[in-house]
Symmetry: C2
Subunit: 255 residues, 2 copies
């Protein structure tokens, strides 16, 4: 049975603790958090420590803290020669302390505290300093998820930028759309089937081919109507820039 | 049995023809298209005409052509006093010729020719000049879909802008994300669970609350890394603008 210690108490850490805690074949030995009380709703108190000197032995340590804190946390571990990973999309494996065997265990998903995630579908992106450690991480990952990928630090950096566009910016488009609905007394729920279908299409055809709307049709009458409708300069600017970008991509494809 | 004539042969027209053609309780009397051959794969040839003088009698006429052509098509109809609608999100009902009873039958969905859509989930946004005609449109819409809304021309205009953000711009975010993946030899499919979860979250909580990522965390180290990573000035500009916009909305909420 694989023994795992999770270090951290944020969004990702909590989802990991839940997933590992309910997974057969993996033992969540301990969770480590500066503020142990943040995890009381997830684990018995004797399984949580705030004291770095009391961290127990495990096969894999997963540091799931803010990017800026990863190096510091890794350097404070009292042991050497063990497999220590972090969960960040944008921090290189090299930021981890060299006294331990290093790896990355990056779950590529958007986690909110108030919403459960089916962890079996979460892509887990793995990297390790030593080939033999990759097998350990792979064993762990495959117990937790059906989507396991080998992704090195360079690839992970570009993947993280791609994820910002595919998820964070996309969600912001929903937020702007929601604001327009609110300001005009339209229930945002009317857009739900459209949002779902747009996301579903992305799995069925290349997004460039799936593009619809006034920008890609170069429907200048509608584009002008929309620009006239939008009052806020910042939002107008986003509308203009994204319209140009849609047309640019479409023209590039034709060339 | 409600008798319907569809005028047009584009994306939306074809999806409507399929939906109406397979719907019990509605009879698709005829389709009208300047290039009838575009519809040969959907209907027997004797059900299609390219001649406006041969348009048959029906309870509802649905003009589904490009926005710019709606007024002209409506004015060419050889009859008067019948219920004539269009399917556009951005054209007012007033653009239809006054010789007929006017209405709007706007399906709020992204339609691609190569992908089937479950029409029963498509929101149908209805408007009519005469109250009694609303009942006819509602009867038709409820036979086709579970999501039927009364939306007037002013509301529809804002709804259309909201839909551009929620769907067209969102799809463009997927396209930009796909390009980053391609340029770095990462399969875009790795992002699918993230895309689906982001869309799913939008149905479960307000998008503002669902926002994750470096912008809303104000994680300046990661934001700078991403800016350094992006080479194309236009894409860099989009990254910067959307990051600012995410932070602006988040700050507004805190106030």
């Amino acid at each position: 049975m694989l023994k795992v210690v999770v270090i951290g108490s944020g969004n990702v850490a909590q989802h990991l603790i839940k997933a590992i805690g309910s997974c057969k074949g993996v033992q969540l030995v301990q969770a480590v958090a500066r503020h142990p009380e943040k995890l009381y709703h997830l684990l018995p108190q004797d399984k949580i420590t705030g004291n770095f000197n009391q961290i127990l032995e495990a096969d894999v340590y997963i540091i799931s803290v803010t990017d800026d804190a990863i190096a510091q946390v890794a350097s404070q571990l009292h042991f050497t020669g063990r497999l220590v990973t972090h969960t960040s999309g944008s921090v290189g494996m090299g930021q981890l302390d060299t006294r331990n065997r290093r790896g990355v265990f990056y779950p590529l998903q958007t986690f909110s505290k108030s919403k459960d995630v089916d962890f079996s579908t979460v892509p887990l992106c793995l990297e390790s300093e030593h080939a033999s450690d990759y097998t350990i991480l792979q064993n762990l990952a495959e117990l937790l998820s059906e989507n396991v990928y080998a992704i090195n630090s360079t690839q992970r950096q570009s993947l993280h930028v791609a994820a910002v566009f595919a998820s964070n910016f996309t969600n912001h488009m929903y937020a702007l759309s929601n604001n327009i609905c609110k300001q005009n007394n339209i229930p945002f729920s009317i857009l739900e089937p459209l949002i779902q279908e747009t996301a579903h299409k992305a799995t069925q055809m290349p997004p460039l081919q799936a593009q619809t709307g006034p920008a890609v049709r170069n429907d200048t009458t509608t584009l002008q109507k929309h620009m006239d409708f939008l009052q806020d300069d910042a939002i107008k600017n986003i509308y203009k820039l994204l319209t140009q970008s849609i047309q640019h991509l479409a023209n590039e494809q034709k060339l």
